[in-house]
Symmetry: C2
Subunit: 499 residues, 2 copies
């Protein structure tokens, strides 16, 4: 066996443990019995320790060292795998093994406790777990090494390579400068949509049937995936032949399931279409969190909120919930689902205010890691920021500090990717229009495959073979540019609200 | 850390991989997307190799060797764990690691292929996999070492310690001598039950609701389990807090789901009630396959086919499928569900003919391992034996040679345990009646917990802490005795058919 093959086999073994862990996590979130969770967390701890040990072993170090001198002559996949594994090795090697194992067990329990705490609106139940997550990660950041006194940049870089608070402060500032006046004009507009019909009863089973129908239209491959129900929707790519989606059915607000499903479908289609040669390697999960989010948001906003999409689907929607929509004109429906309204729940937020939800989380994370913000202050800080940025204040912690799973799983530094995803998606849309000028006509023809094919050709197939900015540059000809998003929002909402 | 603690930690690590594998298997059977299976099989291979490597490592050998001199002073749990692990070590050590890994990957694929082959009635699709399973296991048996020229005994012993073809030939012979004349009398009786109503349409969702209701009555703990649908029903104990059941809904024969669910519930209640101190050890899975089966059959036959049970549940059943049962008197229903009728499908067989299904499989397995039976001859042999023993002949391989999952998973030697389970169960029932003489009244009171409590006290709690015959002796005062089963069958069916 060549050294290169030995290295790839070794890496795919790590991939196998990660895939097993993925199934265990999916299972814990979709319906594993409560009484088995403690013992299951031990099992997760054992496998995660294996991943950690394999990722930090002397054997891996030796493989990396031996491969390095000739890596430039290897093929492109091997080269990028080498680069990623080496980066991960250097990150992981700095964490003591026993601390990592303890962290992983606690992380898994924390996610379970969060689910229960959210359903019981019990912040006190979750607080000690969150505290432990933050403290542990702070310690890890010191192990990884802090540059320029900015610990939070260490975390940002793990989700979006090269991202810093300096860039984000600027981009978010500019974006807020365009969103806030637009939001003000909208709120003062006399042309507010009627939305009462959105909140009428929509049977869960009917929502599920409609969601499945939409997934088929978007090109989600059901032989390589499945749809389940969870408290918080997610997509998980176990391997390219098994990329699962979950959604949340709210019988008093169908938008949660429909737009949630479309969003997760965007993530899933990405991983279903990653190049087969990347299977089992760390390149199969996508280029970055921001690029991943650009795919989900592309589908959610440019497909799911597109009037042309609803021209084909509104009749169906009416038949799945006739009492709700039978008397509602499509025009009114479209204005309602595109309503701009400051709200409490991120995943239910409109396109325009969404970024403000992200900015709040970003500032809290920055405060926790770069400032002197304490976990016990979070519910109050959260509520105060919502009041300041969005003009709404959560009445319960379940719709406030407890709403997202991310912090329960110690995913700090992840949230900003969502906002980056909006910007990337807008840039991709603009580039796609050059290749597919008749974009809107695809909906009339009832064949959306050119959209998926374009995204697969330009984004999906590469997985993490290319870096985020490389994909952006190759596809759009330029770097990160927030103006496409701002222009899109201004144009769309000026028209919708007749500003 | 003491040596004993080190040893137990080591063993529990093996348990963790087995639990992860259990979740992966459950997932593959209950709905994992088809296109992900090949890669998932690789993952299973990696984890199974870990189990194998840990179970055969020098480190384990050293722990066993160092612990052995003082093991008699250890507590009972540690002593039995030691004994089991040592036995398993000696078995596994004899298989070359690469052959074992190849076997496990093939085994996992084989079970998937079997599922598809059965649904397509395609024996040719499954044949190469079964051939490979048999050939591999034959080779393994030579590694393990054959005594007295009887390779099949090596396999029997792994499911039911001490069991031999000599014992089985005798016990099965005696049982057949009592079943066959009884069967003849029954088939000649003019008092045949009406059964046409059994096969009317029973909605799947309603069957599920009724199954869930029954599970609650039997004492299945839903916080430590869940019910799903599969082609072939099974129970899987991942840990005592997570023991899952699956069942099969046949809309033209509700018995498959109802009695299948009750059967698997018996298995599941066993593992939900194993002593907590056995968690993560190889003792948590029960004493033997035969004892396990005695628990499922106890529930299926002494609870689920008990007239008193139906006095409480028949009204409910009628309400779940009113058009089917509205006009059927309970007396007729009871006679119908206890109909004795030679049939093709083992899991749908009645109590009386069930053992004949087992004897056919036993003889085929014995022929494959001790004789010169070839895999390609199996469909014909199977069909011929069904004709000879039961007087019925399968028309398709799906209802013949392809009907059970066991051989797809290389579980040869397992089937006889089912018949042993019948005998053990009858012995337990007889012993239970001494402690709970008012057994039948429990149903009238609507509280079946004394049954579960008795079984937990005498059987469940011990897991594999006691050996099968020890449990039997301690509980019933005697050894294996097939007469209890034969007496029960003669008494019950003489009355039912007014012989």
């Amino acid at each position: 066996m060549t050294l290169e093959q030995q290295f790839l086999d070794y890496v795919k073994k790590i991939g196998a443990y990660n895939e097993a862990l993925g199934v265990l996590y999916w299972d814990m979130r979709t319906g594993a019995p409560k009484k088995g969770i403690d013992q299951r967390s031990e099992v997760v701890g054992v496998l995660a320790t294996d991943v950690f040990n394999l990722s930090t072993s002397d054997e891996l170090k030796q493989l990396l060292d031996e491969l390095e001198p000739t890596i430039d002559s290897a093929n492109n996949v091997t080269k990028r795998v080498f680069e990623e594994v080496k980066k991960q090795y250097e990150l992981s090697k700095k964490i003591p093994a026993d601390e990592y194992k303890k962290f992983v067990i606690m992380q898994s329990k924390s996610e379970s406790v969060w689910e229960e705490a959210k359903s019981k609106n019990d912040w006190g139940m979750f607080k000690p777990y969150l505290t432990e997550m933050v403290e542990t990660l702070k310690k890890f950041v010191t192990y990884w090494g802090v540059k320029d006194g900015n610990p939070y940049n260490v975390l940002l870089d793990q989700y979006e390579p090269g991202m810093t608070t300096e860039v984000l402060d600027t981009v978010f500032g500019d974006l807020r400068n365009r969103i806030v006046p637009l939001l003000k004009k909208i709120s003062e507009s006399p042309n507010q949509p009627k939305t009462d019909f959105l909140f009428k009863h929509f049977d869960k089973k009917q929502q599920e049937a409609f969601s499945l129908d939409i997934l088929k239209q978007l090109g989600y491959d059901f032989e390589a995936g499945r749809l389940d129900e969870t408290v918080h929707p997610f997509a998980t790519g176990l391997n390219r032949g098994d990329v699962r989606i979950t959604t949340k059915y709210d019988e008093s607000d169908f938008r949660s399931a429909v737009f949630g499903t479309i969003h997760e479908c965007g993530h899933a289609i990405y991983e279903q279409n990653v190049g087969e040669e990347l299977t089992g390697t760390p390149l199969s999960g996508g280029a970055s969190m921001g690029i991943h989010e650009s795919q989900s948001l592309f589908y959610e906003n440019f497909v799911g909120r597109n009037p042309k999409f609803w021209e084909q689907n509104y009749g169906k929607l009416q038949s799945y919930s006739p009492e709700q929509f039978g008397d509602v004109a499509m025009e009114d429906f479209l204005r309602a689902i595109n309503e701009v309204k400051p709200s409490l729940i991120r995943i239910e937020a409109d396109e325009l205010t969404y970024a403000l939800h992200i900015m709040i989380r970003y500032e809290i994370e920055k405060g926790l890691f770069n400032g002197d913000l304490k976990v016990e202050e979070l519910p109050e800080i959260w509520n105060a920021k919502y009041e300041e940025y969005l003009g709404v204040r959560p009445e319960t912690n379940a719709e406030g500090i407890l709403q997202d799973v991310h912090w329960a799983g110690a995913s700090f530094g992840y949230f900003p990717s969502y906002a980056l995803g909006y910007m990337y998606a807008s840039q991709f849309k603009s580039a796609m229009l050059k290749d597919i000028p008749n974009f809107d006509e695809l909906f009339e023809k009832g064949d959306l495959s050119p959209i998926k094919d374009w995204l697969t050709k330009n984004v999906h197939q590469y997985g993490a073979l290319k870096k985020p900015l490389e994909i952006l540059k190759d596809t759009t000809g330029e770097g990160l540019n927030g103006n496409y998003l701002a222009d899109y929002l201004e144009e769309k909402y000026t028209k919708l609200y007749q500003l």
